[in-house]
Structures are given as C-alpha cells and as structure tokens.
C-alpha cells in the first residue's frame, strides 16, 4: 500500500466538508449546481442518428429549418411565440446583479427569446429591455406586484427548483443590500430564507384554484407556466397539467442555483435526462402531450443538450448557468479576487458569498461594474444564436425542417442506463434495455 494512498470514502473533499461543519456548526451552502464527480445517465449517453440511406438530410445552412417556438396554446389568448427554443430561466435580482439581469433581458430580446424574473420580483429595466418577459410567482412572494404581473407575457407559478426541490430560497446577508432589502420588504443584511411552500395554498387541489386566480388576474390573456423541481416527475407533471397549466417547466437535479445547501444539490431530485422522459410519459398518459408544452431545465450546456431534450419531448429549454458562463462566470479574469474567495476560475461556485469576481452574482457596486451591460447582452445574444445553430445543424442532418420534429427515433443510446431511461435502443443492438 502506497504511503500516500487516500481513502476512497474519506476523500479530501469529504475531510474538508466534515471539518467545515466542525468549525462552523452549519452545513455547507454554495451556488452553481451539483459538483458530483460520480456520473449518472446524461444527454451525453445519447447520440444522434443522422440520415444516410433511410432518410434524406436537409442541406446545411441552406434549406429551411424552423426554430419558431410556440408556448401556451392550451388556454391563453396570447400564446408566446419565440424565434428560438432556448430561453433564459428565472434568476432573481438579488442573487444576480442589476447589470446581469438587464444584460440577460437585452441579450434574450436581441435573439428573439424570453427571460424570466425570479425570486424578488421584476426590475423596471428588465421589462423595458425584454421582448418576452415571464413573471415568476414564488412561495416567498418577494416584490409581488400585480401591475408588474399584468405587464408580463406569461406567468410562472414556481413550486420548486431542481437544485433544491422541497426547500425555499436563500440569500445570505452579504447580498441583502439596501436596494434588495427594500425590494423584498426585508431588514437590511438578514440571512434571508424564503419559504418552501406558498403562503396561501398547500396541495394540488388548491393549485387548481390558484391557477384560476392567476388567469383571472391577467384576464386569461397570457400563458400560465408551472415550474417543478424534478423529484416525482411523472405524478407532479400530471398534477400540474390537471391544475390547468399551459406550460410545465421541469428543472432537473443538475439545475443551477444562487445559493443552496450543497447536500440538496448533490442528493435530491432526479437528473434532467430522466426528468424529461418521465414528463413526456406523464403528458402522454393523460393525453396532453403536445397540448401542454414542456420546458426542460437543468445542466443544459449547448445546442446538443437542447436538441436531445427536444428530441425526447421538450418544446424548449431554459438555460441559467450556461447563460451566466456566457456573461463570464468562471472566466480567468480578476484572478486575485477568485483567490480571495479561496477558489479559482473553472472551479468557482461562490455565488452565495456576494463577492462574484466578474460582477454577476453580487450586489457590490464596484464588482457589478465589471459586467458591462451591452457587452454582456451581446455575448448572450451570440450564445443563444450559436446554440440555435447547433440545434438546427443536428435537426437538418436528421432530415427535419423544424427543430421540433426531432424525436427519440433520431437517437441511439450509448449506455444501457440511457437505453432503459429513454426507451431508445442501445447502439449496436436493436434492443431497448429494461423492456
């Protein structure tokens, strides 16, 4: 046995975590999303099967491949029409800086997509710079304002998030600045824990009435989304559909966060790949697949992940972390400030501290200046365009004139797990495992 052999159980990370708890008396809290090293089935376990003799591909960059995305066709008088199926997810002003919120809104608008408010309510500048704005109604109801709600193009009733299903939000005192405290009606500098449950409803039956209330409040004009953190996806999606959702958002275990207990990020909920498959099955089971639209979130990195999610049944994807990375999250700039946080570029997950080296997840005016709104917006626009090109490229190669025509049949599984989860034959066999 080598002298310096490390334990496979008490790894350096585990040792550090135990000592952190012994020192502080508190569990670990951080931002970003799961850091788990052990792998589980992901979109990487699937590969596309482009056309050869059985099907005819479309001419890349020439033949039309539509990316128009319609959401909210079930009940809303004014469904949302987006140019692309990649949307910016809800991230709160509070977790994010003002500059980051406005840059996301501007970038999404320029790319013909949407952005979503977040815990803490709407910023006026966010509305002014958005083309399509989705207004979140969260359990905390921070900043809830009916006038803002009625300016929105859709309402998202949030039940949970993938990074921390079954718990509420967190914003540590360092980020509860004067402006954030005022917007959220809180004392300045408190460690704000927001509730896990809505204050005026409990179960799915109440939610049916709540959805009707939101429709009445917006005159049945705009779509109502229901967002759930992926845990019992099959049942939850059916209940959300029964409650009258136009659109259901399912956020998988890989979902990002501004601040959550790390055990929730690592050990709760189910991964996004399984979540999209269960969600589709649920909608098919109640005969609403295609009528209720599905948005998938959680660890979507590029057009490939997005295309695979769409092929498995999603109508669109939400991106959070990828958008922040587009704004320079984890980029090797201001190295001394990463170091001051005890971290480094590519390994930073310190959004909860409020000391984001690149000005994204901070309320500090000086740090925030490091994110130029227009430059950030341009990067978001570029990212959304590039992701859309990737989706189109894959769709054309599979012979699709509309990215929404991608289907499970266009893919093969690379692992038995993925085959069993997605109901797709394992590459090299004609067999779906587990069937």
């Amino acid at each position: 046995m080598a002298h310096l052999q490390q334990s496979a159980i008490f790894t350096p990370g585990v040792v550090e975590s135990i000592q952190h708890k012994a020192q502080t008396g508190l569990y670990e809290m951080r931002g970003f999303g799961t850091l788990r090293q052990r792998r589980w089935a992901t979109f990487d376990d699937l590969t596309f099967l482009p056309c050869s003799l059985t099907r005819i591909p479309l001419e890349g960059y020439r033949e039309k491949c539509s990316t128009k995305t319609l959401l909210g066709t079930r009940y809303a008088k004014k469904p949302i029409e987006l140019d692309i199926p990649v949307m910016i997810t809800g991230m709160s002003w509070g977790a994010l800086s003002y500059n980051a919120k406005v840059a996301l809104a501007k970038g999404a608008a320029a790319a013909g997509s949407s952005n979503t408010t977040g815990d803490g309510g709407m910023l006026q500048a966010e509305r002014e710079n958005s083309r399509t704005l989705i207004y979140e109604v969260l359990p905390s109801r921070y900043g809830i304002n009916i006038h803002h709600m009625r300016m929105a193009d859709a309402i998202e009733l949030t039940i949970g998030q993938g990074a921390k299903p079954g718990t509420g939000g967190l914003l540590l005192g360092s980020k509860v600045s004067n402006r954030i405290a005022e917007q959220r009606d809180l004392p300045i500098g408190v460690d704000q824990r927001s509730p896990a449950r809505h204050p005026d409803m409990l179960g799915p039956d109440d939610m049916i009435i709540k959805v009707e209330e939101l429709r009445e409040a917006t005159d049945w004009q705009v779509p109502i989304f229901i967002k759930i953190g992926a845990s019992r996806v099959f049942d939850d999606v059916k209940l959300a559909a029964k409650a009258g959702a136009d659109v259901i958002v399912v956020d998988g275990m890989e979902g990002g966060t501004g601040a959550s207990p790390s055990i929730f990020q690592e050990h709760t909920g189910i991964p996004t790949l399984g979540a999209v498959c269960e969600a589709r099955l649920a909608l098919e089971d109640c005969g609403l697949y295609g009528e209720v639209q599905l948005i998938i979130a959680g660890g979507i990195r590029d057009g490939v992940d997005a295309a695979k999610a769409i092929a498995l049944g999603a109508d669109a994807v939400y991106i959070g972390t990828a958008a922040l990375i587009g704004l320079n999250c984890n980029k090797p700039l201001y190295l001394e400030d990463y170091e001051a946080l005890g971290t480094a570029p590519y390994a930073c997950h310190h959004c909860h501290t409020g000391r984001c080296p690149v000005g994204i997840t901070t309320q500090d005016p000086e740090l925030m200046q490091r994110l130029d709104i227009d430059a950030g917006a341009e990067r978001i626009q570029n990212l959304l365009h590039a992701m859309t090109l990737e989706i189109q490229m894959l769709a054309r190669s599979c012979g699709k004139s509309d990215v929404h025509h991608l289907e499970p049949e266009d893919m093969a599984a690379l692992t038995m797990e993925a085959s069993a989860i997605c109901g797709i034959p394992l590459a090299g066999t004609r067999k779906v495992f587990g069937r």
């Binding site: 304002n145 009606d185 004392p187 204050p199 005026d200 009707e212 049945w220």
Partner: protein, 236 residues
C-alpha cells in the same frame, strides 16, 4: 349603486363586469349570491366599493390595489393575498392564509381567522376581532398584525419585522418570537387603530383586548450564529 347577481354569471363574467364598473368609477357594487365561489374580485386595481352579500371562497380580492371590499359572510383561504393597497372587511370568519403576503392596505376580520393569518406579510395592517389559528404571522416581514382574541400555536414564528399584538392568550409562541408588554404610546396607538376599524360592540366582545401584548422577532434567526444551534435546528 349597481347590483349584480353572481348566480347568473360565471366567475370570468362577474370579474370582468366588476373590473369594468370599477374602471368607470362606479361608487358601489353589490354582488348577490356569491355562493362561496372562488376567485371573486381578483386583481381589482382602482378605488371603488364592492360588497358581497354572502360568503366567498378562496382568494377573494387577491392581488388587489385600491379597492374596498366588504363581505357579509365568511371568506375562504387567501383572502386579499398579495394586496398592494385597499381595504377589506369580513363580517364573518376568514379561512387559512388570510392577508398572506400583503404589501399594503388593511384587512379587518370581525370574526375569527384560521391558520397562517398574515403569513409572509410585507406591509399593511391586519386586524382580527376574534381569535386566530396556528402559525399566524409566520415569517412576517413588515406591517402590523393585531389579534384581539386568542392566538393559536407557534404565533409569529420566524418573524422578520412585522409588529404583532395579541389581546388574549397566546397558545404558544413560535421560534424566535418574543412577547413583551406594550408601552403607553403603543397602547394609545392600538386604541386609535381599533377605534378607527372596529365598531365599539365588536371591541367590547373581547374585553381582554385592553391588555394587549406585543410580539416581535428575537432576531436570533436573522443571521446564523453557531451558538444558537438549538433554535436553528427547530427553524431549519
């Protein structure tokens, strides 16, 4: 005064009519036969007066700004939830989560309130002439919550800065809630608040309401402190 018969109208039709009438500055609208229906008078955004001549269901007057609503019967869950401004008066009782997450305005409940009264309040004033159920004031952020009668279990749990007053017995205080005597100044302010909002005979129903106690946050949950781990274990 305009009269509408809810029995003849769907919720959508009734709310549209109410919104139109309120927009036209119709001073007073009476709604007959509300039938404890849910989502009545949601998001009324102008001043004006709506009187329900019976009981209403969930979320009556939810998301209001500026309206004055009077309910002759009782109200279901989430009365006036997330209101920005306006006044509500319920002659009967109110269900769970009355005045949840309100940011302004006044809610007066002349009977009793059920569980989670004023939960996540962010402003405004809530007055209950009778008793309230468990977890009233939970995570209250701002505003004033007054219960003239008795309060249930876990009163004012995990409070931020809502000022809470109870006239009767408090079955148990919530985590980090601290009760104290009211100062003369606070007693006088309470007296005039109640005089302005409750008829003398209602105030007389609860004679103990002369011995109000104030409940505020002990602030031990405001910022994590490892020396307070017992209280945090309960709270988290």
């Amino acid at each position: 005064m305009t009269q509408l018969n809810a029995a003849d109208l769907s919720t959508r039709e009734l709310n549209s009519r109410l919104r139109d009438l309120v927009a036209r500055d119709d001073a007073e609208i009476h709604v007959e036969n509300p039938g404890a229906r849910h989502n009545l008078a949601v998001a009324m955004l102008k001043s004006g007066k709506i009187r329900f001549r019976g009981s209403v269901g969930y979320y009556c007057g939810g998301l209001a700004d500026g309206i004055s609503i009077e309910i002759d019967g009782s109200a279901g869950w989430g009365l006036a939830e997330s209101m920005l401004g306006g006044t509500f008066r319920v002659h009967g009782n109110a269900g769970n989560g009355a005045a949840a997450a309100i940011r302004g305005g006044t809610v007066v409940i002349e009977g009793d309130a059920a569980a989670r009264l004023g939960v996540s309040m962010k402003g405004g004033t809530v007055i209950v002439a009778g008793d309230c159920g468990y977890m009233a004031g939970f995570m209250g952020q701002k505003g004033v919550l007054v219960v003239c009668g008795n309060a249930g279990d876990a009163f004012a749990d995990s409070l931020y800065a809502t000022e809470c007053y109870v006239g009767g017995e408090i079955k148990s205080l919530g985590t980090d809630a601290v009760a104290s005597e009211v100062t003369d100044e606070e007693a006088a302010a309470l007296e005039s608040l109640l005089a302005a909002n409750l008829a003398p005979e209602l105030r007389a129903l609860k004679p103990q309401a002369r011995r109000f106690r104030k409940v505020v946050a002990g602030r031990k949950l405001w910022n994590f402190d490892k020396r307070e781990w017992k209280i945090w274990r309960e709270a988290l």
